[in-house]
């Protein structure tokens, strides 16, 4: 397929796309559940239409070509968002949580999406980051800023341990192993009094910058904006960094090696890919992301308990990756944000919440199991021609991933 994108045309497309996505997210956030689901369906319809007409690739290409525009709009959107919502600290809180979960989901994507290793314990890794940072701050008085680093390292180490079984098992067996690890993690926290046991850790200090506590409301241009604004900026700086790292990894050799393992381990090994190294890397790196998110979470809510890092949270995190689109950085980020919003919208249903949640989940799984923005076909252009998207197409991933047989 020959393609040529006119400069202005491409700019318009990327402008429209990024504005559209930002606005859609904003409306999902402020409107009711029905409206949010309607917009989700509408967006999905658009994506499917794009896929049918093959024009979705054009959008991807023009977005990639006009990164400054897209990034500019997104940054602007994040900067302006707290001012639009300044009267409603609940929605600001939802934004912070969406950012935090998006970071965890991006990390989880390395294992589940890129490498095809099922991991049912992302909440444990997330919790490891939160607990390390919280304990460091509460018991040893270590600065929360340093706590981010400690949380990252702590979670990465736990990720290495969790990654070890992945060297020997796959498929359902790996999912059972990670479920077991997840349950052992939560039970050990409950049983360890030093970690607060079932009472959790209260009074975790917030971040501080030159004497300014992040728990203070911000006064700008006569507007008083709840303290969540500080955390929104902080979280989204980290989300930006992790998204950048994730997309760089995707295009790097490591990302390619991960995809090769996902397709067929044995073939990958015969091609000289070091399975042990790559698999452990996927776990450790993903866990490091989760650790950062955990540290941010602990110092944001100022209280953590084991219930927040249990099996059901793991399931929700996996759904974020799956519904967003495996191995697609923008898909995973969108999926995490959308699912966080939908989860919050369901709160109006009190007793019926979990029932609604599972029904919505099953519906999405069945109607669109490849996710919102599915895994893309990798394309490599020949260096000689300047034309994008010409040359051999290396198929990696695609529609159905993973085999039925173990």
């Amino acid at each position: 397929m020959k393609t040529k994108i006119n400069g202005t045309n491409g700019k318009i497309i990327s402008l429209a796309t990024s504005l559209g996505v930002c606005l859609a997210l904003y409306i999902c956030l402020v409107s009711s559940l029905t409206a949010a689901l309607l917009i989700l369906a509408l967006g999905l319809g658009l994506i499917i239409y794009g896929e049918r007409k093959d024009s979705i690739e054009q959008v991807y290409l023009s977005v990639e070509k006009n990164k400054p525009i897209v990034l500019g709009i997104i940054v602007l959107f994040v900067l302006v968002l707290p001012f639009l919502l300044h009267k409603n600290n609940y929605l600001l809180h939802v934004v912070v949580m969406a950012g935090i979960y998006a970071i965890v989901a991006l990390g989880l994507n390395f294992q589940v999406g890129s490498t095809g290793m099922v991991n049912f314990a992302p909440a444990a890794l997330f919790g490891a980051g939160a607990y390390v940072s919280a304990i460091a701050a509460v018991k040893f008085g270590i600065s929360p800023w340093l706590g981010i680093l400690l949380g990252m390292v702590g979670a990465a180490l736990l990720g290495l341990i969790f990654g070890f079984p992945a060297l020997k098992t796959r498929g359902y067996y790996l999912s059972l192993v990670t479920i077991a690890l997840q349950i052992i993690f939560t039970q050990m926290i409950v049983n360890t009094a030093w970690l607060g046991g079932p009472n959790g850790i209260p009074g975790i200090p917030p971040y501080e910058l030159a004497g300014f506590s992040f728990k203070q409301s911000l006064k700008i241009l006569g507007l008083t904006i709840p303290y969540q604004i500080n955390y929104i900026y902080l979280t989204f700086i980290f989300l930006g960094l992790t998204a950048l790292a994730a997309s760089r990894l995707y295009t790097s050799r490591t990302g390619l090696a991960w995809n090769a393992i996902e397709q067929d381990e044995i073939v990958a090994a015969t091609q000289g890919i070091n399975l042990t190294k790559e698999k452990l890397l996927a776990f450790a790196l993903g866990a490091a992301f989760a650790g950062v998110a955990g540290a941010l979470y602990a110092h944001y809510t100022s209280f953590i308990g084991y219930e927040d890092f249990d099996f059901s949270k793991s399931l929700i995190l996996i759904c974020m990756v799956l519904l967003g689109g495996m191995d697609n950085v923008s898909g995973v980020t969108l999926g995490a944000i959308l699912l966080t919003i939908i989860d919050e919208k369901l709160r109006d249903f009190a007793d019926y919440r979990m029932l609604m949640y599972s029904v919505i989940l099953i519906t999405i799984l069945i109607t669109r199991s490849q996710g919102l923005l599915p895994k893309r076909t990798r394309k490599y252009k020949e260096k000689s021609t300047g034309m994008p998207c010409v040359g051999q197409t290396v198929t990696m991933g695609g529609e159905s991933s993973g085999s039925l047989k173990n």
Binding site: N6, L23, I27, V30, L46, K53, N191, P198, I304
Partner: protein, 406 residues
């Protein structure tokens, strides 16, 4: 041709944007309308937080119903110049969810008071949020002692006793009065169970000669206690102290009887003073179990009768449970304070903290940290499938003998 396609995408996205914009416009428009209409006969909201789904839903739903009943009665009586509405929020027994729903509550300008939680960690997570919003918060079910503290006063008050307030009179009765010395503890690993275990251990230490010979911490949701009970049977104890709630308590008692331990005394705290315990364990099996419930015996009070009748007449499909009366009083204390000072959050905080309310549980006043000073408690014994006040029971009069009496 390709240009066309790209254009198509761009136009589609722009249309999408437009549609989204429209939806948003409609959404916010109708919202404003709704607010405008509410001005006459203003409705204010009280937030109710508690576990409405998940493992503790039985506790939360019963309390929620009692809470709703109190508010409905207030609305019907017409003593308030405005209508009250309950905002039901599910904390799922998870601190993170609890923080989210608390944010949701305080973000609504119509919310003037909150009441919540069965789980102590959930209360830890939401209290700071209500406090910083200046909204009074009455705890109806969480028993961790640290929740009512000088920092949280006067914003946070609690109508239910802490674990110490329950365990002191219980120990006085069964150890001091009945002279049972050799104890086995079974309690769950939740914060409820753990804090009861600690309190009971402290109490037992105060009595010379009394000792704890075994301590077993069970998981909430565990169903098989025969291994533990077989072990305890071998130890030949004077009594089994159970620090948990109905489901596990009923199973423990049933399995005790099954293993031939009918003649071993079982004592419990307010978590098991619930007709569901007798119903699920079986009347014959439950005979002779002792439990303590703070507050006066509601069956003996006029208000208690009226409450039970009103609850039955309201047609709830669930029983009010062990914490229903506390939630009912919590709601009425808020309503009483509203009658005194009107819907002003700041005044309401002080009014609740200084209240003296005659309710289901007797007279409730709050001490210098917001803990209820109403520590009158009633010892119940199960006699003929009913919780009977010890003072009226055939066990006290000597017509029947407690299990394990020498």
């Amino acid at each position: 041709m390709l240009k066309k396609k790209a254009f198509k995408v761009a136009t589609l996205l722009l249309t999408f944007l437009f549609v989204v914009g429209l939806v948003a416009g409609c959404g916010s428009g109708s919202g404003e309308e709704g607010q405008g209409a509410a001005e006459e006969g203003k409705t204010y909201k009280i937030a109710f937080l508690g576990p409405l789904t998940g493992p503790n839903a039985g506790q939360g739903v019963g309390a929620r119903n009692a809470f709703l009943l109190a508010v409905d009665q207030a609305n019907e009586s017409g003593e308030l110049p405005f209508k009250l509405e309950v905002m039901e929020l599910d904390d799922e027994s998870k601190p993170a969810t609890s923080a989210s729903v608390a944010q949701k509550a305080v973000a609504d300008p119509d919310v003037i008071a909150g009441s919540g939680h069965w789980n102590t960690p959930c209360a830890e997570a939401s209290i700071p949020i209500f406090k910083s919003a200046g909204i009074p918060f009455v705890i109806w079910g969480a028993i961790g002692p640290s929740l009512t503290s000088p920092e949280n006063y006067p914003n946070t008050t609690r109508v239910c006793p802490t674990q110490a307030q329950e365990n002191i009179p219980l120990a006085e009765f069964v150890i001091g009065e009945l002279g049972r010395l050799k104890w086995a503890i079974i309690s769950d690993t939740s914060s409820y169970g753990k804090s009861n275990t600690e309190a009971w251990q402290n109490e037992v230490k105060k009595y010379p000669g009394a000792e704890i010979v075994s301590l077993d911490e069970i998981q909430v949701g565990q169903t098989d206690f025969r291994p533990i009970l077989s072990k305890i049977k071998n130890l030949d104890v004077d009594g089994v102290y159970f620090g948990g709630v109905v489901m596990e308590a009923a199973l423990v008692r049933r399995q005790m009887v099954e293993l031939g331990m009918k003649d071993t005394l079982m004592v419990g705290i307010s978590g098991i003073v619930d007709d569901k315990f007798i119903e699920t364990a079986g009347g014959d099996v439950a005979e002779g179990v002792i439990a303590i419930k703070p507050g006066m015996n509601i069956q003996k009070m006029e208000g208690g009768k009226a409450f039970e009748e009103a609850y039955a007449a309201a047609g709830f499909s669930e029983p009010y449970g062990a914490y229903g009366p506390y939630a009912y009083d919590a709601a009425n204390i808020i309503i009483e304070a509203l009658k005194q000072v009107g819907p002003d959050k700041a005044k309401l905080v002080d009014a609740i903290a200084n209240i003296s309310y005659e309710g289901l549980l007797g007279t409730t006043t709050f001490d210098e940290v917001g803990q209820t000073a109403n520590i009158a408690s009633t010892i119940f014994v199960i006699q003929d499938e009913q919780f009977v006040d010890w003072d009226d029971s055939e066990y006290k009069s000597g017509q029947r003998k407690l299990p394990g009496s020498k």
